[in-house]
Structure formats: C-alpha cells, structure tokens
C-alpha cells in the first residue's frame, strides 16, 4: 500500500507540464495565453512527417503565487523533448518581453517562473531554435534588468540540456530537485564525439554525479534544493520570490570571481567526489546515497555556494 502522504504529493518528475503549473500556482489562478484552442503549431514538423502539438510543447500564461501576480512558462518534456523551436521559443520570448513592457502598469507581475524541461534546441528546426534560445537569453536579462526576477525550476524528465542549460544559468535563481539535471552537451553526444572513455553515457550513477541536482546545488549551479514533489517546488518559489540578485555589473563581478575560483580550486578534478573531498565535506561518496532530509541538513551546514 502506498503511504497516504505520498498519494497527496504528486511528483514533479512524473507530472506533465500542465500539472506542474496547476500545482505550483494558487488554485484556479492560471490563465493560459495562446493555449491549445488557438492551435499555434510548428509549421516545420510536417516536413519530417512528425505530428505537431496544439501548444508546441510550451505552455505560457499568468497566474498567482501566494496571492502575487506572476508569469509562468512550462516546457512539456514529453513532446519533442521539450525543445526550443520557432513557435515554442517565440511564445516564451513574447511572454518575457510582455513582462518587461508591463513593469509599472496594471498588468505588471512580480516574477517569472520558468519550468524548464528540455533537451535543448529542436534539431528539425535547429536555426529557429538556436535563435529562440538567444532571444530568450536577451529577454530574460532585459526582464531581470527591469527589476523582475526570473526563477528557473528544474526537475523534469528531460532536464535542462543544451541551450536550456545556458538559459537556466541566466536566471536570477535556480531551484532543483535530485532528479533535475543541468548540462550543455549531453552525455550521449560527448560519448559519440569523444568516446566512452571520456563519458560513458550508460553509467547512470556517473551521469547523475556530473549533471544531477545534488552536484549542481553543491557546486553552485543551482541555488536551492527541494524534495521532488510539486508542493516542495511551490514552497521554494514562494520563499525565494524577490530575494534574488539584480542583473548588474556588481552581480556579474561577483559571478566572475566565483566562477574563476571554481576553476582554480577544482579545475583538475575528474569526478565530483574529488571536489566534495577537497571542499572539506565529510563522506563525499555518501552524498548520492543519503536521503533528501540528510542531504538538506548537509546543505544547511555547508552554507554558501562555491
């Protein structure tokens, strides 16, 4: 029998993009923009005899989080790998530009929540997808510059790969669960290009040690770690709301320092337990075995990001 508290805690990883949005926002507050009824679909998939989706795998709109107006965008990782393409990308670009333009008006929002779940650029529309990623980056940074935080929530099946990994790191704050993965080049592509001795993509434990949520939050690629249920993501999104750094020269100087030191301190390491050991964490090999409560306790002891 499944314990009752688990029945009532739907998992972020197992849920659809729409279910994540519904569980994340205040009840009945989500208003979708260009939803399935509008049938805004990819004009390019037909060329590849692939079926399009009525939302192109990108669900956008506005709603409320703890009573405050927010904008939200979620990728459906189960459609074409949650990829950035002409339509899916333009929907997010349009949303971010609208948020920036709405600052100081009646339709202003207090933050943007990005529920990324993506393998990166959709290769069937590679050029449009690449341009979408670049436009999204600029629009995210314009939004932050206008004073509206953009918060990434990472814990879906497709992870945040390729351009999705870069977009994630452009956000004001990154929330991740154990199942969340962030990377640029995926393990399979590295293995194909450089051989299995460089990166054995079938070694699941290795893949998780390199790209997974625990490693990312310990190293500083994610800012907050949550248990994998939707309620955990919601609580954290409420908590970090508006407490995040501005996109300014000062912030970027601190980032430069942080990332430069990481290369100096850990640039010769070959696997993450080596990093944790050098950083002074006890039992570096246990980090991936302990449960979420023990890991959260370890994080709170460790303190600031490295």
């Amino acid at each position: 029998m499944i314990p009752e508290e688990i029945i009532h805690q739907p998992s972020w990883y197992e849920s659809s993009a729409r279910a994540r949005i519904v569980g994340l926002l205040d009840t009945d507050t989500f208003a979708e923009i260009l939803g399935p009824a509008d049938r805004v679909m990819s004009p390019h998939l037909d060329l590849f005899d692939l079926p399009p989706a009525f939302d192109d795998g990108m669900i956008i709109g506005r709603g409320k989080l703890a009573g405050r107006a927010v904008a939200v965008a979620a990728q459906e990782g189960q459609f074409m790998g949650g990829t950035f393409a002409e339509v899916s990308g333009a929907k997010l670009v349009g949303l971010l530009r609208a948020v920036t333009a709405a600052v100081g008006t009646a339709s202003a929002v207090t933050s943007v929540l990005l529920l990324l779940d993506t393998g990166g650029v959709r290769l069937q529309e590679a050029n449009a997808g690449e341009m979408a990623v670049s436009e999204i980056i600029r629009a995210v940074l314009d939004t932050r510059r206008a004073g509206v935080p953009v918060i990434a929530l990472i814990g879906g099946r497709a992870g945040a790969f390729g351009g999705g990994g870069i977009v994630t790191a452009c956000c004001s704050h990154v929330v991740i669960s154990e199942q969340g993965r962030i990377s640029v080049t995926g393990p399979e592509v590295i293995e194909t290009n450089q051989g299995a001795e460089e990166f054995d993509s079938r070694d699941r434990a290795l893949v998780w040690r390199i790209t997974g949520g625990r490693s990312r939050v310990l190293l500083g690629g994610a800012d907050s770690y949550v248990k994998g249920d939707i309620a955990g993501f919601r609580e954290m999104a409420i908590r970090v709301h508006n407490t995040v750094p501005a996109f300014s020269p000062e912030t970027m100087m601190m980032e430069q320092d942080r990332l430069k030191k990481r290369l100096e301190f850990y640039g010769d390491c070959t696997d993450t337990p080596e990093i944790w050991s050098r950083a002074g964490l006890s039992d570096p090999d246990k980090i991936y075995e302990i449960d979420d409560d023990a890991f959260l306790a370890l994080l709170s002891q460790k303190g600031s990001r490295s």
């Binding site: 208003a31 009646a106 290769l123 050029n127 690449e130 600029r138 870069i166 430069q256 990332l259």
Partner: protein, 244 residues
C-alpha cells in the same frame, strides 16, 4: 581569413590587438575618426572552454568598469563548446551563460557590441559569443551552425541524403551563413574585397544603438522565420488582456 588580415582590413589606421591566453585576442583599435574601440576575439577554431569564457568575460568586465562607453568588437573563430566530462562537471552552462551575460550587459549599459564571425561557431558557443552581441556580421570564412548535418541525421534518425534534400527547401535547420542570415541571426554579410570594412563598421556603430532585439523582425522579412515575430507579438498583446 587570418585574424591579422581581418584586423588590418578593419583598422587600417592603427590597432594594438594581441594574442592572449587560450587562443584569445585582446586590445584596442583606432578608427579613421580617432574613435577608440575595444577588440576581443577567439582564434583558430578553438572550442569554447570555461577558461576562454572566464578570460573574455573578465576583459569585458574590465571595460565596463573603466566607465567609458567604448564600443566592443568581437572577432570570432571558435567551434562548438568544448565537449568533455570535466567541463560539464564544472558547470560549463554557467561559464557560457556568464560570457553571454556580460556581453549583453555591456550592450545594455551603452557599449555598442558588434560580432564579426570569420570562422566557425556552433551550438552553445555560437549562443554565448556571436549571438550575444547586438549586431552580428559575417565575413569570408564564416561558418555558423547549430549542429552539422551528419550529427542532425544521427539524432533525427534520418538518412543524410534525405536531410540534404530537405535542406534545399528550407533554411530552418541547415548550417551556413545563408540559412542563419535568413532566420535573422546575421545582420550583414560583408564582401570579400574588404576595401570598405572601416566605413561599414563605422556605419553600424553610428546608425542604431542596438538596444532592441530586431532579429525576429529580420527573420520575418527575409522569410527564414515566418511566424516567430507574429507569435511573440500576439503573446504580448494577450498578456495585458487576460483576466487578472
């Protein structure tokens, strides 16, 4: 085209651009009207590593901190992002994003940023360098791409010949300047004789401030991205109208 040829064509009056660590370029140049520009670059088709990203981002931040509003010109011949387990472990996504962020920040606060692609740039490296500038120019030797066709064939599980046939009917996925320019990535492609590079650069530095991302408009006009601009606008219209 070699970086020296490109530098000589762009800045016939004077330049002090020198090779830096990890196949980077850095220095200043003087335009015909004595205006100074900062020059940064990558040479030799070098894959974009965390080290290169930090090197270039550090220089951009120094330029920002100098308090001037000097334009920054990026001369780019990179490759893809470097593909190693070590780089991914160290958070290559953060390093690529950091470089893109400081280039965008420089543009936002008044440094006109221009990318000149004279070699290859692909995938995440293309996004973090050339596509992070306000205006991208291509010259002889430029080969921008997301992924090469054989790799796209592998991932999409389509025979290469079929993919090559499809590429003739649409610019939406093929590598190269014409296809990327059609989607709005490239503002101008400059001619091979190189005689008017200084005037062309000057014109870009003086005609618009680069503050608005016009690439989807360009893609719509050139027919390479027919729907993106319209969709983004429809979203913006709807955003202020949905029930709050």
């Amino acid at each position: 085209m070699t970086p020296d040829d490109l530098l000589a064509s762009l800045f016939p009056k004077k330049h002090a651009v020198v090779a830096g660590p990890h196949n980077t370029l850095s220095g200043t140049a003087t335009l015909d009207d004595d205006q100074t520009v900062e020059v940064l670059g990558i040479t030799g088709g070098t894959p974009l590593s965390p080290e290169i990203a930090i090197q270039l981002a550090g220089r951009v931040l120094e330029i920002i901190n100098s308090g001037s509003k000097t334009p920054i010109v990026f001369l780019l011949d990179t490759a893809s992002q470097r593909m190693t387990r070590r780089d991914e472990m160290l958070g290559l996504n953060e390093y690529l994003a950091h470089l893109a962020k400081v280039i965008v920040l420089a543009g936002t606060i008044g440094h006109r940023t221009v990318g000149i692609l004279y070699g290859t740039a692909a995938a995440g490296a293309f996004i973090a360098t050339a596509l992070a500038t306000q205006t991208l120019i291509t010259v002889d030797g430029a080969l921008p791409s997301v992924m090469d066709l054989p790799s796209i064939a592998r991932v999409t599980k389509l025979p290469l010949e079929v993919l090559q046939q499809k590429a003739e009917t649409t610019p939406i996925f093929s590598p190269g300047v014409p296809a990327l320019a059609a989607t709005g990535a490239v503002f101008e492609t400059w001619p091979s004789d190189r005689t008017d590079f200084p005037e062309r650069l000057k014109s870009i530095l003086t005609t618009n401030d680069g503050q608005t991302d016009l690439r989807d408009r360009l893609g719509e006009k050139r027919g390479g991205r027919k729907v993106a601009r319209d969709i983004a606008q429809r979203v913006a219209m709807a955003f202020s109208q949905v029930d709050r």
